[in-house]
Amino acid sequence: MSKGLEVVDLHVNVHGKKVLKGVTLNVGYGTIHAIMGPNGSGKSTLAYTIMGREGYEVERGDIRLDGESILDLPTEERALKGLFMALQDPPQIPGVRLTTLMIAALNKRQGSSDLTRVRDPKIVRRMYSLAEELGLSRDLLQREINVGFSGGEKKRSELLQALILEPRIIILDEPDSGLDVDGVRKVSEYLVNLKEQGRGIMLITHYARMFKYVKPDMVTVLIDGRVAVQGGPELADLVEERGYAYIRRRYVEGKDSTI
C-alpha cells in the first residue's frame, strides 16, 4: 500500500468543460510537491477535485489516500480523513467567527455533538499564540471569517487553520499571492516545519519565488490540463529562468518529457 495522496490518470469536467485530461502524481508524507503551471492549466481544479467540490466531475481516474480511493466520499469526510485545502481566495462567511469555525472543526474531529462548545480552553490559547506568531492580530480571531480581511490576513488565516486542524495532507493554492516578502518567508518557514513533522504538502504556485525559502522535493508542471513535465527542484529553476512558453515548446510540443 502506498502512503500519502495519489492522483491517478485524473480526467475532470467542470460544468461540462473538460479541464483535466489525465493527471498522475503523488504527494508523499514528509515531502513537498510543487504544482506549477500557467493560468488556466488546471492547478486549482486539481485541488478542488481532490477535495470533492460540487461541480468537479471525475470522468476517469482515481484519487487515493493511503491506497484507498476517496472518490466516493463527500468533502467533509475527505477533510476528516486528513485532507486540508488552503484556498487561494477564501470566501467571506458572515456571522461565523474564525474561532467558532476552528472550534467546530475540532469538536467534529473529536466526535462531539455540540459543535460550538469549547471543551478545552488550552486550544483557544493555542489559537491565539499561533495567530500572534503568524502576525495576525488577536481580534481577527473573533471577527467574521474573511469579512474585511486583507489579502495577507486571508492567507495567514488559512495557514492558521491548517496548523490547528493538523491534517496529514495539506493543499495550498497559491499561498504566496497577496503576501509581502516577510509574509512569504513566514509562510515558508511553517511549510518546512509541517514537512518535518511528516505531513504531505501540495504547494500550488504560479511563480517560483517561494522556492527561495522552501525547497520542493518534487515539481509537476501542468499545461492545458496535462502533466507537461515532472522532476526535482531544478525544474522550478528552469520555469523561473525560461518561463512556461519554453516549457510548453520543449515538453508539450517537442514531446520530450525528461530533463
Partner: protein, 477 residues
Amino acid sequence: MAEQAVKIREDILKGADSPEILGWLDKPPKAEVELKGKITRSLVEEISRIKKEPDWMRRLRLRSLELFYKLPMPRWLTGIEEIDLDALSHYVKPEAEFTQDWEDLPDYMRKYYEKLGLPELEAKFLSGLVAVYDSETVYARMKEYLKKKGVIVLPLEEAVQKYPDLVKKYFLKVFPPADHKFAALHGALWSGGTFIYVPPGVKVREPIESFFLIGRQGEGQFEHSLIVADEGSYVHWIEGCSAPRFVGYSFHNGMVEAYAHKNATIKITTIQNWSRNVINFNNKRGIAEEGARIDWVEGSIGSKMTYVYPSTILKGPYSSTRSVVVTLSKGPYLKDSGSKVIHVAPHTRSKIINKSISADGGVNVYRGIVRILKGAKNASAHVECDSLILDGKSKAHTFPHNQVDEPTAYVSHEAKTGRLSEQQLFYLTSRGLTDDEAKSLIVLGFLDEIMGELPVEYANVLHKVIQLEFSELGAVG
C-alpha cells in the same frame, strides 16, 4: 439548563413516538372531558358551564361566537383551509385538578414536566411558573416574596373567579374579538392560560414562565394570557410552547394581551417549538401608557405553519417598544410573521428587528406594519429585516408596510437578504463539517446578536435546538 431538559427537547425533535417520550405505552391518558365537533352555541355554553363562569364571561363568549360566524375568513391567511375546525377537539380537560404542588399532578404528567426540566427551572431561575396542559392550567406557583408584594400569578379561570373586576378591565379589550375571525373564535373558546398582575412599583426580578403543552392530536388549544403591569412596575414573562409529535394535526389559536401602565415595563419572550403538525396561530398585542415599554422577543422554530405578529399600541407619550422576531422554516413549513406598531402619542419610539431563516424548501413571510397617527409628534420607528436563505428551494418574502400621517415623525427601514453560496458551503465542508452542520453555524452566527436578548438558560436551549434542527435528527418528519 439541565442537560436532561435539553435531552427531552432533543427527543421531541427526533420525532420519537410521543408515548415513548412520555412514558405512555398505548395512547394518551383519557381526558376527563373532551368536547369536539361543530362549533355551536351549546358547545360554548358547555365550556362556560364546566368552568362555572360568571354570567359576564359567558355572554362575552357568546358575543365572540356571533362575531366568529359573521366575520369572513381572512384573505391574507394561506394554508389555513387545511384546518377542519369541526373535526377538532375544542376543549380537553385533563384528569388533573389545578394545583400548586408538582406532587399532586398525575404521575405521567409530573414525569413529563420533570423530563422537560420545569421544576428545576422553576426553582433556579423563575419567579413563577404556570403549566397549561391541553385546555387547562394544571399548575401555577410563584415565589413567596412576590405574594407578599401583591403580585398575582394565577390560571386565568381562577382570576375570573377571584378578581373579576381586574380581569374585566383588560380581557378582550386590548385585543377585541371583532378584529378578525380567529380572534373571535378565540374569544368564544378560550381556555387555560395565565393571569399576571404586578402592583405599582413592584419589580419582579426573575422571569415568570408559562409552559403550554398540547397532549393529543386533533386538538385545538386556545389558551389566553393576560399580563398587566401597574405603574412603574417590571415583569418579564416567558412563554414556552411544546407539543410532542402525533399523527394528524393540532390547531393552536392562543392570545396574549399585555397592558403596561405609566412607566411600567413588560418583557415577553416566546420560544415556540411545536411539533411539525401544529398549525400555530397567535394573537399578540400590548398597550403602552405614558413612559411605558413593551418588549417582545419571539423565537419561532417549530410547527407546520405559524402566524405571529406581536403588536404594540403606543398609547401614551414617551412610550416605547422593541420587537425582535426570529423565524426558522426548515423543510416544507411556513412562518408568517411581522411586528406591528401603532404610534398614537407624541415622542413614542419603536424598533422592529425581524430575522428569518429559510432552508430545505421552507418559506418565511414578513408582514410588518408601522403606523404613525397624526399628532404623534416626533415619533420615531426603525425597522430591520434580515433574511437568510440557505438553498435554492427556499424562500423569503418581505412586505413591510409603513403608514405615516405625522410630518414630524421619523421612520427608517433596512432590509437585507443573504444567500448561502456553493463556495461558502464548500469552504465550511472542507473543514470537516457536513452541509447541515455548516448551515447550523451560519444560522447561529446570523442569530448571534439575538441570543444576547434571551436569558442565558433559554439561549442555550435555543442554541441546542437549532443545532439539532440541522442535524440528521432534525430531518426526520
